[in-house]
């Protein structure tokens, strides 16, 4: 996805995706968010997700690491922990050009999906859907990212391995080593 640079108006680490998405909706941001999940902050990877927003409503999603778009990008981004969020504001005419390019359907997400998939926040998802215009390119998308996530053995295995390593590391810190299996 080729995006104009726009103006960087905020750059911060938030507790979870719900905060980033709720703030963007409340502020009716037109532009995009660059989302770098906590797991990549730790590993030093520069994998990130990009989510475009029109009037605070998510429109297109892509992932720089997996190069997947749309619901696949959301599934790649999902996970627990803090998120580094850069918010860039773009002129609505310039963003409209991005949203009109060929191939946008592969990148489009249903308006409420980022809130549902990344934040598990049904209320925020409903509020976002209500705000979405009739011609939102992701309307009617019925992909099931949860299903897609669980079908991705490697990704689930990675989460489990990371959790196991964390549990064992902390067992040493907390003196639970004797309880380890």
């Amino acid at each position: 996805m080729k995006l104009p640079r726009g103006d960087l108006v905020a750059s911060r680490v938030v507790d979870d995706y719900a905060v980033a998405l709720r703030d963007a909706l409340d502020d009716a941001v037109t532009g995009y968010l660059v989302l770098e999940p906590g797991s990549t902050l730790l590993t030093g990877d520069d994998d990130a997700g990009v989510l475009t927003l029109a009037d605070g409503v998510p429109v297109l999603a892509s992932h720089t690491g997996t190069e997947r778009g749309g619901p696949g990008a959301l599934a790649d981004l999902a996970g627990p922990g803090p998120v580094q969020v850069d918010r860039r504001v773009v002129a609505s005419t310039a963003l409209a050009e991005v949203h009109d390019v060929d191939g946008r359907d592969a990148l489009a997400v249903a308006p409420g999906e980022p809130a549902r998939v990344l934040a598990g926040d049904h209320d925020l998802a409903a509020r976002t859907r209500e705000r979405a215009p009739e011609d939102h390119p992701g309307r009617g998308e019925d992909a099931d990212p949860l299903d897609a996530f669980l079908a991705d053995d490697d990704r689930v295995a990675a989460i489990r391995e990371e959790a196991r390593a964390e549990a064992e590391r902390r067992a040493e810190e907390w003196g639970f080593v004797d309880q380890l299996d």
Partner: protein
């Protein structure tokens, strides 16, 4: 016999306390002596769900090491259960010694068939992980969303690291039963445990909480209550020697403060 089961989620807002009490009441109806302990010592919740807002003696007093307070003093008979609530005083929480939880649980194990430990949502501290370390098995309560599921997998993995089996996955606050059906098989594969229930999201759960009553007392015939009872059937408490369990808890080596 006694079995200690931690009810955990890895994420807040999944309805863990509601689930703990519902599973406890259903198991009590099946004839088990059930003790429910609010092991979420930093965010007391159980007392509000059981009308014990005014409880003068709580688990905090035991964790503070007050010699004048016995475990029996902090145990309340409510709704066919023995309930050990936590206090709401954060000062008490900070002063409380989580390591004493093992001794309290050991003492409670003597008189119970099933000990349910309502565990903290996040896994960020020693006291939060302790219930999972101490328990025989864990029930993971989830919403069918990606963040909840990834956090639940983390709980499962922590439990496995400490040799604690997962008894089952309980999907709660479900908006669409089809969401659970779509992921049931894969959930069971990754958690190496059955999906023991799918409980619909319902306003009556919030009403019960506002009334200070467990769901199964407040609205026993609702779909959510029925679904919790079905889920409890999937737990099938194991027959463990109470002396061995008590001894395991009391000898749990928990040497360093975090």
């Amino acid at each position: 016999m006694v079995e200690a089961i931690a009810v955990a989620s890895g994420k807040g807002g999944t309805g863990k306390t509601t689930a703990t009490l519902a599973l406890g009441m259903a198991l009590a109806d099946d004839g088990y002596d059930v003790t429910v302990v609010d092991a979420d010592t930093g965010l007391a919740n159980l007392l509000f769900h059981t009308g014990l807002d005014d409880a003068t003696v709580t688990l905090h007093d035991l964790l503070l090491g007050d010699d004048d307070v016995t475990v029996a003093d902090a145990t309340y008979d409510r709704f066919g259960l023995s309930v050990v609530p936590c206090g709401t005083d954060l000062g008490d929480f900070e002063a409380a010694d989580p390591e004493r939880l093992a001794d309290v649980v050991a003492e409670l194990a003597v008189d119970a068939d099933v000990l349910l430990l309502d565990s903290p949502a996040a896994l960020g501290s020693k006291s939060a992980v302790l219930p999972i370390v101490l328990a025989d098995r864990v029930v993971v309560v989830l919403q069918p969303t990606l963040p909840a599921l990834s956090d639940g997998l983390k709980v499962h993995e922590y439990a496995a690291a400490y040799g604690t089996d997962t008894a089952g996955v309980l999907y709660n606050r479900v908006h669409d039963a089809a969401d659970v059906d779509a992921v049931r098989e894969q959930t069971e594969r990754y958690f190496d445990a059955p999906v023991i229930g799918s409980v619909p999201d319902a306003d009556v759960v919030r009403d019960a909480r506002a009334a200070g009553e467990p769901l199964l007392a407040h609205a026993p015939e609702t779909d959510a209550a029925v679904a919790f009872r079905d889920a409890a059937d999937g737990i099938d408490p194991r027959d463990r020697d109470e002396d061995a369990v008590a001894s395991r808890f009391s000898s749990a080596v928990v040497p360093d403060r975090p």
